[in-house]
Symmetry: C2
Subunit: 373 residues, 2 copies
């Protein structure tokens, strides 16, 4: 279960999600190394409608540490009125649909979609993510390929493996597990991935096509695609709605905003330089929070009846938990669930959707390669 | 003078600016064929604070035609309080700077920047735009190349000429004058332009780099680049400001929004599906209007003290004008200049900046090709 909780937020990493926090590695009691900073909750992180957390001032002061006192299970709040958007269940449904399609394709033309993952070094978190992806592939019938390289591998070795996968017709998606060792140039390496197999959808050409009205991206990045899919499958109408995306990362915030706009929402992106972020957010019918600051979006940021999608998965200290930590979102669930009409929990909201969308992108790629409808 | 007024809004066309109006050709008294619809002003287009024009409902009803009664010279309004942002003068200053740089480059390494334009067919408006570009090039010392093809040329012929320019080291920028004849696929043709010479900046890879935080586009599209330059050179601070872009076209609205966000504004894009567009626009410290609907943004859309950049250049019927028409922006200048702290006029605001930015992009391209600092 723990391994499922620590799914990475993008399909290859969350490390690039947080533009304005530094994320030192953090080794948990069970030996897992986290990419994300483990935050000690301070009074400013606790739910209090009277105290709105200033955007960007999220660093807890060590001198004001307190123990979190509210429920560790977000969805147990007694006075919640919001419908819980069950990402786990929706992701399961999507995987089932993908399984059917994979089988149909195999039966019809004898082709099985293939996903290749390249992992460099011995990071336990990366190993966990890669294992989860392999299991997810197996569960829907997608073939997974894996290359493991030592920490001291050269950039050229990684590039050589990418090139091999680029030329391998049985591989329809290629992922380079991030972060890469510091001696490697991430952009140089990622740019080698054939755009027709870039199932992460992080290539700037994909982003450009997402931003332009008459273009179609080859792939939509997995996490924002998962957010929109959650809205669609929960019956939330997007067209004509006001939407606020909190956070402007390349892998979630920006593409989520572009996707919402493509569906005819009116979108504002709130970020660390936004004055009165809560005021603007409170105008939104749909809020997507993807900023990597625990509990930053408070109840009084939410317009009554709004729909809230919480992308954050932040480990915070919790002495009461056997693991010493628990996971919270970027939205203060206990407050928001009393105001919103629907909300995703953390964990179990957006997280499970990311891998489901990765599988979907791999299937899409294989179908496209063989023009299989 | 008329030929300067009818500059195209992007460096190659305005035809793609207007996502929700159809633009039949319109032949003016002087024989010029306009790309843009000539609008007969109706009561809904006249300045009246009590009447806010519904976004998207811009089609004038023939049965309610009236003659425009307010001043044809936007900047003559007696009660204006806004500073006029003089695009003509700023563009002149930029051209002078470019001249100096072109001469410096020629002296230092013997290289002169070159801009190639391909024009297909006999459209008079396109011919005017191309002539203006050639004159502008000459005025700063940039060499211009021109290929004129007949209306019935094939797509392959156009592509062949682009390929030649792609391989010609004396050409640093390539423009295909739009619109192309209807038997040609615009996207297929534009995609052939080497991204290193795509001085229009319309390639999706450029747009993707503009949207992503750690990427730099090869070129920034000319009109939105001109808007930002007007703000910079008028001493308008962007960081931390609320900005609204009215219109979401590929060539102005979207890249303008991305540029504003890159400068740390908080940006909302207002479009035809936005409910209460005026309410959201009224929150903005900076408004960029690029929607192609005459006088759509009224005075009561503007927050007192806001800065207004008007990209629209709309010809409207005017019996009092010797030409039978006059030009108005997307912003109702007479109203807005009483509320805003600064505003661009139409004509003489954004228009002159577009060609200046095209020259700048050509210079940038040539400098990059020779690594000339």
């Amino acid at each position: 279960m723990a391994s499922m909780i620590f799914t990475d937020c993008s399909s290859s990493t969350t490390a690039r999600l947080l533009p304005f926090t530094r994320n030192p590695l953090f080794r948990l009691r069970d030996g897992t190394v986290l990419l994300r900073r483990l935050v000690t909750l301070t009074p400013s992180h606790l739910p209090s409608p009277r105290r709105a957390l200033a955007f960007g001032s999220s660093s807890p002061s060590p001198s004001t540490r307190v123990t979190a006192s509210f429920s560790t299970e977000a969805s147990t709040s007694a006075s919640a009125t919001a419908k819980v958007i069950d990402g786990k269940s929706i992701a399961k449904q999507i995987r089932d649909e993908i399984s059917v399609e994979v089988a149909r394709m195999k039966d019809a033309i004898g082709v099985v979609p293939g996903l290749a993952v390249i992992i460099v070094g011995d990071r336990k978190d990366s190993a966990t993510y890669v294992r989860n992806k392999r299991k997810a592939c197996e569960s829907v019938g997608i073939i997974s390929f894996e290359v493991r390289l030592p920490e001291d591998a050269t950039e050229q070795e990684v590039i050589n493996h990418i090139s091999e996968f680029n030329n391998d017709s049985s591989v329809h998606g290629i992922l380079v597990q991030l972060p890469l060792p510091s001696h490697m140039n991430e952009t140089n390496i990622l740019d080698v991935v054939n755009i027709e197999k870039d199932v992460d959808g992080f290539h700037p050409l994909n982003m450009g096509c997402l931003a332009m009205r008459d273009r179609e991206p080859m792939f939509v990045p997995c996490t924002p695609k998962g957010c929109i899919e959650l809205l669609h499958r929960s019956g939330v109408s997007i067209k004509g709605k006001r939407a606020v995306v909190v956070g402007r990362s390349n892998i979630v915030g920006m593409p989520a905003a572009l996707l919402l706009q493509n569906e005819n929402a009116t979108v504002s992106i709130v970020h660390s330089r936004t004055p009165n972020a809560e005021e603007l957010t409170r105008q939104a019918d749909i809020v997507i929070a993807a900023v990597g600051v625990p509990n930053m979006v408070r109840g009084n940021w939410i317009k009554p009846g709004a729909v809230v999608i919480d992308v954050g998965i932040n480990p915070v200290e919790d002495a009461k938990s056997p693991r010493g930590y628990r996971l919270v979102g970027d939205v203060c669930y206990e407050e928001a669930c009393k105001v919103a009409s629907a909300i995703t929990p953390v964990p179990g909201g957006v997280g499970p959707m990311t891998i489901a969308m990765l599988l979907d992108n791999t299937l899409i790629s294989a179908k496209r390669a063989y023009n299989f409808k």
